[in-house]
């Protein structure tokens, strides 16, 4: 009995401390407010095997912040970039999101992978944090209507799948094998492709299969594609699996067209698959090199980092501009006002002049089909 009582007293003591902790936290916040600092959270894969997708976003955020700070900042506040690594892993994304929320960040650029973004969004939603991804293309993120705080500067997977299937039809494919990597992104894309192929009277799904990422080899699934009589392959997933499958297909003498998504439209794919990459089609964001801000962003990146920008750099640059512009137009970091500004105010970005629809997708942003020719992705005319 005595033990129980002491436990109750102990619990009460802890609660008292917790309450004290909360109130002192609020005081601290009030003190910090005049520091005139606007923190832009940047979350994504900054290490691990998908780091090449996430790091360019950090660079983009830094460049945009430096530009805006040189012009006097947003509403007189200096913009500070605060990066959090999630390695594209959902469990690490929630950690990153919690960290950003607990540091009172109001706008977040990220995350990079769809699975990680989905995991983090619940936390942002509860904390009323606006989150904008340069690369998470999983359709339900916007279409489900569950995340009014989510925006993206890239078109969703079904936009990509529609184009992919249309292109497959143009190539004259009738019997398509649809393969995916069982991930949120790859499987989502593959299911849309399957749906659109089945909807087409002239086309037929020969095979629909998922492969295990990281398996020792994919020869069995390649044999199955071969045996299914498919005249083309659509793959949903990322470049490590794509390069293994293409290499294995070509080595087995299976020379049918290989079409994939923007997870494969990465130079690492060409580097790894080498000669076998030649002729592979991949959809990716439309060529935007004619836009004025595009060349500005490119020059800045070259000057600052001495190299060509990586994947999703321009989408990230656009997202950073859109977020900071919305805060400026809203006059504060108030959640409702910022969301309203994102939906109504146009902003000039490297992707063109954009605003967001009510679901959070950027208007006027789209995809093109690319093909590997002489070791480089070349955009094909639509």
């Amino acid at each position: 009995m005595r033990g129980k009582w002491s436990l109750v007293v102990f619990a009460m003591a802890i609660m008292a401390f917790a309450v004290a902790g909360c109130s002192s936290g609020e005081e601290k916040k009030a003190e910090e407010a005049p520091a005139k600092k606007l923190v832009l959270g940047v979350a994504g894969a900054h290490s691990g095997d998908l780091a090449s997708y996430g790091l360019p976003t950090v660079n983009a955020a830094k460049l945009v912040a430096a530009d805006i700070n040189a012009k006097g900042g947003v509403l007189g506040m200096q913009v500070e970039v605060f990066a959090q690594d999630d390695q594209c892993k959902p469990e690490m994304a929630t950690n990153a999101a919690t960290k950003l929320v607990s540091d009172d960040v109001k706008i977040v650029l990220g995350h990079i992978c769809s699975g990680a973004t989905k995991a983090a969004l619940e936390i942002y939603k509860d904390a009323k944090v606006v989150c904008m991804s340069p690369s998470a293309t999983n359709p339900p993120l916007t279409q489900s209507g569950n995340y009014p705080n989510f925006f993206r500067t890239i078109a969703s997977d079904d936009a990509q799948a529609i184009l992919e299937v249309k292109f497959a039809k143009k190539l004259g494919l009738k019997n398509v094998a649809v393969i995916h990597d069982k991930g949120d992104y790859g499987k989502g894309f593959a299911e849309f492709c399957k749906q659109f192929v089945e909807a087409d009277a002239d086309m037929n799904v020969a095979l629909f299969e998922g492969v295990t990422p990281g398996a020792v080899d994919y020869s069995a699934v390649v044999q199955k594609i071969k045996n299914s009589g498919a005249d083309g392959v659509i793959f949903g997933g990322y470049h490590p699996e794509a390069s293994k499958i293409v290499t294995s297909m070509r080595k087995k003498g299976l020379d049918i067209p290989f079409l994939s998504d923007d997870g494969v439209k990465d130079d690492t794919f060409i580097k790894v698959a080498g000669e076998y990459a030649e002729g592979v089609y991949a959809t990716g964001p439309r060529d935007i090199s004619a836009n004025k801000l595009y060349s500005v962003a490119l020059e800045e990146h070259k000057k600052e980092f001495g190299s060509e920008p990586g994947a999703f750099f321009y989408q990230a640059y656009a997202a950073a501009l859109a977020l900071l512009n919305a805060v400026e137009k809203a006059g504060s970091t108030d959640y409702d006002k910022v969301v309203e500004a994102l939906r109504t105010q146009y902003v000039e970005t490297p992707l063109g002049k954009i605003k967001f629809d009510k679901r959070g997708d950027a208007e006027g942003v789209g995809f093109s089909v690319y093909q590997v020719k002489n070791g480089q992705y070349v955009e094909l005319a639509n």
Binding site: S47, G48, D49, A51, S52, K182, E209, G210, V211, T212, G214, A215, V216, D217, Y218, S219, A220, V221, Q223, K224, K226, N227, H239, P240, S243, K244, T247, S248, K251, K252, G253, T268, K271, V272, A273, G274, Y276
Partner: protein, 321 residues
């Protein structure tokens, strides 16, 4: 009559063709599974040998395989730049990878396991997991986290009658594995060190009493196991054409499964287990769906362990009193 005869013959030909393609498909899957099984076997042998001698599951073994592949890549890069022919590069890359990985295996045992030899069984196990994480991150930081292209070192040649069914690299992988397995079996059975290993596995204290240097035997076990993994690493990297720091993890898990399936501690068991696992995965993919590849593999493991808890060829443990 004539036309009827033709009509009757037609379905027969179609049927014959169908059997032909079915047979071809079966063979393709079979050879694919055989290749996979061979790689699993090369890694599984290391697990099972170490377990047989010191009853430790060496979780860093998958990383030895990965280090072997990386060493192979570096050697291949250097020799390729010097203009060596393909086959010579393969042989040299395998030799250097074997030496390098063997050195790693030897060192890991001395650093991470030997000081814990008298400790409770859980301690060296944790030490092994730590070693695995350390090696992965070491390679990631020292090399890169990106995937790297691995040159195909195994020359292309046609196999008469089986073109399109089995590729030259699959033939080489299976052949090398068979040679290695036979050599290892002979060595364990007739070699002096092999006999010492068997003695140590049976009873370490007794082996010590009859004058076997147990430390040497344990080191030799790690060296041999690591060498086999390195051979597997170079061959499979050359076969699939890419590596990164993480390849050892899944390969290691699968090889460990194979070792348990065959009966951990038993050398022929590991070979058999790896073969069964590779073939099961290939046929599950081919005839059911690759979505369920792992489901079939692990369901088989569960089934076998229900009926034979020590694995297919494992000795049923005798209670020591």
């Amino acid at each position: 009559m004539n036309s009827r005869g033709q009509a009757a013959a037609c379905p027969l030909i179609v049927y014959g063709n169908r059997i032909g393609t079915l047979m071809e498909y079966f063979l393709e899957l079979f050879f694919g599974g055989l290749t996979r099984g061979s790689i699993y076997a090369l890694i599984a042998l290391g697990y099972t040998m170490v377990y047989g001698i010191i009853e430790l599951i060496n979780f860093a073994h998958g990383e030895i395989y990965m280090i072997g592949a990386f060493t192979g890549l570096i050697v291949a890069g250097v020799l390729g730049a010097l203009g060596f022919p393909g086959f010579a590069i393969l042989v040299l890359a395998v030799i250097v990878a074997v030496i390098y990985s063997a050195a790693y295996g030897f060192t890991i045992e001395k650093i991470a396991y030997k000081p814990l030899r008298g400790a409770p069984r859980l301690s060296p196990l944790i030490s092994a997991i730590g070693m695995s994480i350390f090696l992965q991150n070491y390679v990631m930081l020292a090399q890169t986290s990106d995937f790297l292209p691995f040159p195909s070192l195994i020359p292309e040649f046609k196999i008469p009658g089986l073109t399109g069914i089995i590729t030259s690299s699959e033939v080489v992988i299976v052949a090398v594995t068979v040679v290695v397995c036979v050599a290892l079996t002979l060595f364990i059975k007739y070699g002096k060190l092999g006999k010492a290993m068997r003695a140590t596995a049976q009873n370490r204290k007794m082996a010590q009493l009859v004058g076997i240097s147990v430390n040497t035997v344990i080191s030799a076990t790690f060296v041999i196991g690591s060498s086999l993994a390195a051979v597997g690493g170079v061959l499979i990297a050359s076969h699939i054409g890419q590596i990164n720091y993480y390849i050892g993890f899944i390969a290691g898990i699968k090889a460990f499964t194979a070792a348990v399936l065959g009966g951990i501690g038993s050398i022929p068991g590991a070979m058999l287990g790896a073969l069964i696992l590779g073939l099961t995965e290939a046929f599950a993919t081919g005839y059911v769906s690759s979505d369920y590849e792992d489901v079939f593999a692990f369901a088989l493991l569960v089934l076998i362990l229900i009926f034979r808890p020590a694995g297919i060829m494992g000795k049923q443990p005798t209670q020591k009193v």
